[in-house]
Symmetry: C2
Subunit: 385 residues, 2 copies
Amino acid sequence: MREVAVLGVGMVRFGELWDRSLRDLFTEAALAAIADAGVDHVDSLYVGCMSSGLFNGQEHLGVLMADSLGVSSIPATRVESACASGGVAVRQGFMEVAAGFSEIVLVGGVEKMTDLSTPEATYALSAAADQEWEAFHGVTFPGLYALIARAHMERYGTTRRQLAAVAVKNHANGAKNPHAQFRRPISIEAVLNSQMVADPLRVLDCSPISDGAAAAVLGSVELARKLGRHPVVKVTGSGQATDTMALHDRRNITELAAVASAGQRAYAMAGRRPGEIDFAEVHDCFTIAEICIIEALGFVEQGRGGPATEAGETALQGRIPINPSGGLKAKGHPVGATGVAQLHEAVLQLRGKAGERQVPNARIGLIQNMGGSGGSCVVHILETE
Amino acid sequence: MREVAVLGVGMVRFGELWDRSLRDLFTEAALAAIADAGVDHVDSLYVGCMSSGLFNGQEHLGVLMADSLGVSSIPATRVESACASGGVAVRQGFMEVAAGFSEIVLVGGVEKMTDLSTPEATYALSAAADQEWEAFHGVTFPGLYALIARAHMERYGTTRRQLAAVAVKNHANGAKNPHAQFRRPISIEAVLNSQMVADPLRVLDCSPISDGAAAAVLGSVELARKLGRHPVVKVTGSGQATDTMALHDRRNITELAAVASAGQRAYAMAGRRPGEIDFAEVHDCFTIAEICIIEALGFVEQGRGGPATEAGETALQGRIPINPSGGLKAKGHPVGATGVAQLHEAVLQLRGKAGERQVPNARIGLIQNMGGSGGSCVVHILETE
């Protein structure tokens, strides 16, 4: 098995991007990643996208993107695991390079969500839940995560203010990220007074509906050294796992079993422990999600996610900076793109090129991408040489 | 790289299956494949599906199927390449086993199309074409293939009767296949007098709208020998390729470049030539498609697909039997399942267990699965030991 490196990364600034089509977004990110890598071709392509069918009436994205990039003839495959589609694209590319099936693989993620009205987009997103046992009965994702939040508050005493602290931290980071959809700090009071969506979650607890794309070029560590354009960033761990599809089938809805398993698999492959991780990009689709995730990944004890966040342990200058990019909350969440945008941020951090939001001495980073209410999860660990 | 074998296969009989849900269909096929393989677990899962979003309001199929099978915790990923989604699932599983990332991988395909009305299903299927440059302007898949048929007739003198001969042959084979949706022979006259869909294609030139699922269990050749349940069937070649998304961007619409490239890659990996193949399952979504495909794969000379079919060269007892299963035309075409159902047929043929439709002395088989109007293609070569 060959060692794999990230040769280049690129992304568009997330937002409501009505001036560009689905293929435009992907192509812009992909060309940026290819230019950043300094390669003259790619051998294969994976595109992560959750639901271009429902959002855009378009499937068959592998070909669409290969054609738009002018590289049609190469193998090109779309992968989907709801909001973890981008992470799955990274993993498939990682495996293809590690195994030696291809030398240079382009992995990207894209979603164009704002062409639909909010009710239509909510329907499309509900396709990540169990259609027959959850969505059909009217439960939406804010509703599912509100159930998790209530259970976490009941079991561990997590407070409404602690939830808000996640959003405040991520907006503070996002304000320093030129690729973020929202570049403004917010206050605890703003979160607490924002519109109720699904009690206890308010609109500022929720990641937005976004358009966007991100891409990365993967190749062998040997090739990365030969290209010599950037400090070499290796993919040292990759883990993927699943849980039950429906929330009601879980023994304890405050513990995200797929996140814990995917994390353990990635830690085992990389030979790392949570305490060795310098920073992490995690899937804060709702504030409560970040709290559950940092517990499942072992960054804080079970039940301590809220207090740790409130105490600043996960801030940019804290013990374990979480979501230096601004996370899904501030950077935006075009669902299929998110997992690859996390890789984009991790690579910038590990190269020491994250500007104002640079984590000091970042040498080992972790990225965690999740589908639905935690039904699927992909974790990667990245390290500088 | 390890040698890969097909340990087991399973499928449901294709048809209008209103009594079973999307997950029921996949699970039934998967359990049949697992039982056929005689394994007690699977390490990873790929599910090919084109558009469960548009057909069923359900994405996130990897988790849904892992959960339904009772194996949630394993990595489970949905792959999509329009009607080639099943073939892509087979290829991802092949690569994962070959590379040693997993020991036993379940690959399956599923589509449940008949819950929609025909106009709705036609819209969903059009998502495999270029939405902005083809589908939006009203062209449907019968229309696109009709353009190919007209060009082939003009360039090579292919006749209306030769197109019909493809359907007649495939129905003759399908009549012998207990898994086929249509188990009745048809005559040339029936095809020529059937309802016009898109001139020159009539309804009996078109594969049907179907529900169905198919699955296979992949593992190392070493494991296949150890299990000892069946004659060992190896995957010796795998090729995937793309072409332009839209038909109007191709230099010559009668030549399927992605099919030719995917075929060449699979032949090269297996070290085989077209003349060594004993039978093939190919993607006859329309009668003209089979004619173009057998030319692109090198089974007949360019332009000779029509006369060769009319002369019986591709019949069950012919020089190179094509679609002994009945093909998409008679077996049915639940789009995401088709590529895996082709593998099901090839394995039965290579085990010598294809009953009335057995190809004599079948030792090397080829399966070819295609997306859209040939924008994507996956080819595998399978051999007995």
